[in-house]
Symmetry: C2
Subunit: 143 residues, 2 copies
DNA sequence: TTCTCTGCAAACGCTTTGCACGGAT
DNA sequence: ATCCGTGCAAAGCGTTTGCAGAGAA
């Protein structure tokens, strides 16, 4: 399970393999995404990396994330209408968002229809499954 | 299958039963939602009803939809990050959005986990499943 | 009169765009 | 010298908020 902690070197190789120029900002953003389980928003990425890169701008984060999505390295999650979250986990899985603490968990379940098949005549290219509720850390906690 | 065409009278009774004052705007908005299969955005609702109610404002539509969501009459769908769509179908079902024509179809499938149960220790309160791809009307059509 | 609904206008917050500076080759 | 990445500032766009006028009871 040590793909959970990629080094900067690993990330650099990965970017090169995907034909993306591995600038410092891109390295740090992808490293953060790959090592965090938190499905961060742009704002969380910004606030975290800003401590280390005080010149970082949100524009660069948007540019970079959109580039990564375009190249298929990450996917954007739309759980709440006004915030996009980003996920570097490429295996099919579902998400669970806790309405109390706001955390988003990966849920390793999958089910038909599979991408590439058809449902009721429609060709499936992407599928997204997410749930909301109270996570196990917040169960029993006062509102 | 004639719940697909509710009359204004039906809609009025429904609002009264839910303890919502049945103003003309509210009646028309709910009637439109209940009779359309298209999961409209605010903009679509606005442009459609504006023809009949030229004084209608988007603010009223937002007010009304948020009231309906609060009272549990409808749900908001977040498929694309920058647009909320609204659905008056309260049975559990999935959605399919065509990336060519933009239409959203109801897909009558459902699967575990059910609302009220737990997954990996988390209590499920809501679940959402949607797919994207090419709908059967657009299959084979040139891009 | 009192309370609620409506709708204009302005504010808001996230994301994108325009553009110029700077670093790398 | 050229190209590409970065990041400031402004624009864009869907949604919410403030508030005043209209309508119902």
């Amino acid at each position: 399970m040590d793909e959970q902690n990629s080094t900067l070197g690993d990330v650099k190789d990965y970017l090169l393999q995907k034909k993306i120029n591995p600038s410092y900002q891109r390295l740090k953003i992808l490293e953060y995404l790959m090592n965090s389980q938190s499905h961060p928003t742009v704002d969380i990425i910004y606030r975290t990396l800003f401590e280390e890169i005080p010149t970082l701008s949100k524009t660069t984060i948007y540019n970079t994330l959109n580039l990564f999505i375009e190249k298929g390295l990450i996917t954007g999650l739309t759980i709440e209408e006004n915030e996009v979250r980003y996920d570097a986990n490429t295996a099919p899985h579902a998400h669970f968002k806790c309405t109390m603490c706001g955390k988003v968990f990966d849920i390793p379940i999958d089910f038909p229809p599979q991408v590439g098949t058809t449902v009721y005549g429609h060709i499936v290219k992407e599928k997204h499954f997410y749930m909301k509720g109270i996570c196990k850390d917040c169960t029993g906690r006062p509102a």
